[in-house]
């Protein structure tokens, strides 16, 4: 019997890489080293390491740590094309910004995390911005501060001030409209308690159009917090506009300069003349 020698197949490094990428695509959540080993038993640790390193440096694989060990995940092809031109520093900065999620991160914090000098950071940030990978969002808390986050992320409420701000400008018109709408809604005698628009309701209280009472409510009723519920009710003002403001003197801007015999006096008051002609 002739021995059939099975030539040990020297795996083509490119093959290995492709195989790994295929595996990654199969398991989009990531694969461990173990999985690769199982799939390609003919590769030894060295070859695997080389392939994985190459993939990583090409930016086609993501290296993640999990409690099971190291995970390799295929990177978004879109992303991979983007990062092609960047170098390691940029990738590092990008990683930091990505980690900050939708709260964004301040440039000083990026510096701390990456230990890169300020000039470098600025250059990198400018680069990334021009490549449309990140964007700068002005924080509503301190208007000079800029936080950076990934381009396609929605900024968090705490940064932009929530529903009341749009493009960093206080949406006063929006507030006014909601103000009116809530008032009309309440006027039709519906009692409601909604946490979401509590601040708007408070402004209606300060306008004197609405009053609030706290009643004891059972746990579990809609809107109850700690066994209490806030109820709102539209009310009328308790007096009509008062007498003083029905005369010109009540609203006169030069009231303090007015006295008999002076330049401005009751006898020649132009506001009074106008008012009397009504």
């Amino acid at each position: 019997m002739a021995e059939v020698k099975v030539k040990p197949e020297v795996p083509d490094p490119l093959d290995v890489e492709n195989r790994i990428i295929e595996l990654c695509h199969q398991f989009p959540h990531g694969i461990t080293d173990q999985v690769i080993q199982n799939e390609m038993p003919h590769t030894d640790a060295q070859q695997r390491a080389v392939a994985i390193n190459r993939l990583l440096s090409m930016g086609q694989l993501d290296l993640l740590r999990s409690n099971a060990g190291l995970l390799y995940r295929v990177k978004d092809s879109q992303n991979t094309s983007k990062m092609k031109g960047s170098d390691n520093q940029e990738k590092l900065v990008y990683q930091i910004i990505e980690d900050a999620g939708n709260k964004g991160i301040w440039s000083r914090d990026i510096r701390y995390k990456s230990n890169l000098p300020l000039t470098e950071i600025n250059k990198i940030l400018k680069n990334l911005e021009s490549k449309k990978l990140i964007k700068a969002v002005k924080s509503v808390a301190a208007s000079k501060k800029k936080v950076y986050m990934l381009y396609n992320l929605q900024p968090d409420r705490s940064v932009t001030g929530g529903a009341w701000y749009s493009d960093q400008d206080f949406e006063s018109e929006f507030v006014e409209v909601l103000n009116q709408q809530c008032f009309k809604f309440l006027q039709s005698k519906v009692e409601l308690s909604m946490e979401d628009i509590e601040t708007i309701l408070n402004t209606l209280i300060y306008d004197g159009k609405v009053e609030m009472t706290i009643i004891a409510a059972k746990e579990g009723t809609v809107g109850s917090v700690d066994g209490q519920m806030k109820l709102y009710r539209a009310v009328n003002p308790i007096i009509q506009p008062t007498g003083l403001v029905r005369t010109p003197c009540g609203l006169c801007p030069v009231f303090d300069d007015c006295h008999e015999g002076g330049e401005i006096s009751p006898s020649n008051c132009i506001y009074m003349t106008e008012w009397l002609e009504f």
Binding site: W164, F170, S172, V175, T199, I200, N202, T203, I205, Y206, D207, G208, E211, M212, T213, V235, N236, P237, I238, I239, P241, T242, G243, L244, V245, R246, T247, C249, G250, L251, F255, C258, E260, S265, P266, S267, C269, M272, L276, F278
Partner: protein, 538 residues
Amino acid sequence: MTQAEIKLCSLLLQEHFGEIVEKIGTYLVRTGGQPLRAIVSDTGTSLDQVKKALCVLIQHNLGTYQIQKRGFVEYSVQCSRVLCILRYPRYIYTAKTLYGDTGELIVEELLLNGKMPMSAVVTKVADRLTETMEDGKTMDYTEVSNTFVRLADTHFVQRCPGVPDASGPSDSAAPPAPTLVIDEKDMYSVPRLNLIGKGKRRRSCDDDDNGEHKAKKQKQDLESQEPPPDDGIYWQVNLDRFHQHFRDQAIVSAVANRMDQTSSEIVRTMLRMSEVTTSSNAAYTQPLSSNEIFRSLPAGYNIGKQVLDQYLTLLADDPLEFIGKSGDSGGGMYVVNLHKALASLATATLESIVQERFGSRCARIFRLLLRKKHLEQKQVEDFAMIPAKEAKDMLYKMLSENFVSLQEIPKTPDHAPSRTFYLYTVNVLASTRMLLHRCYKSVANLIERRQYETRENKRLLEKSQRVEAILASMQATGAEEVQLQEIEEMITAPERQQLESLKHTVNKIDASENQVDETIFLLASYVDSTVVAAVKKP
């Protein structure tokens, strides 16, 4: 006495009593109590005139006198009493709504004459009412007397302090001025008078009744020589009672605006029950039990006892806190929080003024500061939901007009501005006083304008008066239609129009004075009740 108050007093005195009284009155308001000699020398008027002016002031309850320890008499005028002259139309109108035309005329006569005995009031009012009635009808004295008694029973009119009976030994030196005393229980007791008669019409010439007229006149002369049965008992209007009534009215209408008609009726009943038991500057009424309230409800309102209880609970729980619950006996004891009610009304007045002067956004900030007491700039912006620039602008504007003030809280002992908290706050009492001052000045301005307008058109007014007099006399002597028309045409059409517009102007200013007076009443009541409450606190 602020400058504005003194100016207003002098204007009122001049308009109602003339130059001399105005001079003496203003002098006394400004300098407080003064003896007769000082008044004569400081004002430069003759002794005779000063005496007459003082008589007028005392007769109208504007001035008083006091015997000092040294033995001389000091005269003084109270500014607040003089300012009540502004409110005379309101008193008369209230009397009309409560007691009809009779009541209106009684109060009017008393206000115009200061002090009068009851018989004189009744006679005069009956005469006036008879004139307005149809031919042949006259007003009976008894009807007028009844109304007068009702006014006294509800404390709207009261007896003036009188001279005490001479009971001491005759050899003691007579005091320089009598001390007037009045017994508490006598203040509202009407003397038993047998007033029989009817009102008389003032007839300028009536041939038929001429003979009768003369005969009646003779009889009357005989009668008037006997002193009237109630000589020495003079009556005056009780202004405090009217003020109490206005205050109750304001509270009831506030409840009606905030809740509904029935609750305002309940509050009105409670206030009516406490009318005579609570003093005018108490902070709370006496506690009233729910059963009592139920029994005293007006006849038209037949709401069940349970419904009443529900309403009372609702009123007691309301954030306005006009009604409070003070106990559970008798179905629940309830009080009306007078001081709190006045405070709410004064605050509402302040808010209304801020709203009209600066806009509704400023009003929002103002109310916010009233609620939260002390706030930083940033917090104001957050709570009121107003952009920073606008909020800052509004706060500074209100600060410059003294509606809000700044409270500094330093973080470091050196009070460095960068390390200090600046909190905005509203001081209600100070703002109220400031606005009260403004109100007084406004009323003074309005009166001056009215006088100016009248002066400008004096010539025209005199002409129209002459024409009217001529017309009246010609009508009396039976002139022809053509002649009357000729006289009427003496006033041309544009002049007539000018007169119309003058009338319109004067009416408008008058009405406006009354409206500002309403504001003055609310603010002044609040200041008075706060001051009293502060004094009472140990």
